[in-house]
Amino acid sequence: MDRIPILRMGEFLLVTIQVDMHDRLALALQDDLTSRIEKTGAKGVLIDISALEMVDSFIGRMIANISGMSRILDAHTVLVGMQPAVAITLVELGLTLEGVRTALDVERGMRMLRSSISETEGNVVGHQE
């Protein structure tokens, strides 16, 4: 069974979803990502959906799950590249993707990740003092 590749970019992980995913593939991605975060100690995850022409409630839940699980593993998640038609449909569907940060593209997503990571680390340092 093919799996969605997870790329490492420094302290971040990048997932580019390009295929029309069937449910098992989506679940496999969830598992793969969480174990990769743990293994690499990655602080941030970028999910690139610029090639996705459709996001339904199952995929939406998967994304929300990934975001939630990553947070528990001390990593931030950013969803990037949502197409306008997908955004409009999600709003109509009533899927809010609560708690998932979004950015227009990978570059902005990384910027967002970097600032949130430095914030968290800043807090920790502050606390210790």
């Binding site: 069937h22 996001v55 569907l93 009533g94």
Partner: protein
């Protein structure tokens, strides 16, 4: 109103759900739906196909390309002989979830289409019909 083209697809496995999405995408493109309307129809079909395959224990999709005067439309009928939905009115309210995650599917799909009809009997099965017009 007349049916221009029609066929039946199996909706049993996860792969079938993907096939349904691809088929509906192609059909809405053929009917020259706007990109947003295409996406709405494909998403609604994905939700209902998943319900049919997982909650309904597998079933069929009958698709029909329609013409009414100058208007063109697409009608999809998902049918299964699964457990059926015990309380339809409850199922159609936002936020209701069954074990199989049926919750968002029905109400969400309803908002994405022009026409929505559902029949369900416990122990016999469920039939959902949706349609979108250009």
């Amino acid at each position: 109103m007349s049916v221009i083209k029609s066929d039946v697809m199996q909706v049993r496995t996860e792969q079938d759900i993907v096939h349904v999405r691809q088929a509906v995408r192609k059909m809405t493109q053929e009917l020259a739906f706007s990109l947003v309307d295409q996406t709405k129809m494909v998403t609604a079909a994905s939700e209902l196909a998943r319900n049919t395959a997982t909650y309904g224990g597998g079933g069929t999709l009958r698709w029909e390309m329609l013409a009414d005067g100058g208007k063109k439309g697409l009608r999809l009928t998902f049918e299964d002989h699964g457990p059926g939905i015990p309380d339809l009115s409850l199922a159609m309210t936002d936020g209701w979830t069954s074990g199989g995650g049926l919750g968002m599917g029905l109400t969400g799909a309803k908002r994405l289409v022009n026409e929505f009809e559902i029949e369900s009997k416990v122990g016999e099965g469920t039939r959902v019909t949706i349609a979108r017009w250009k």
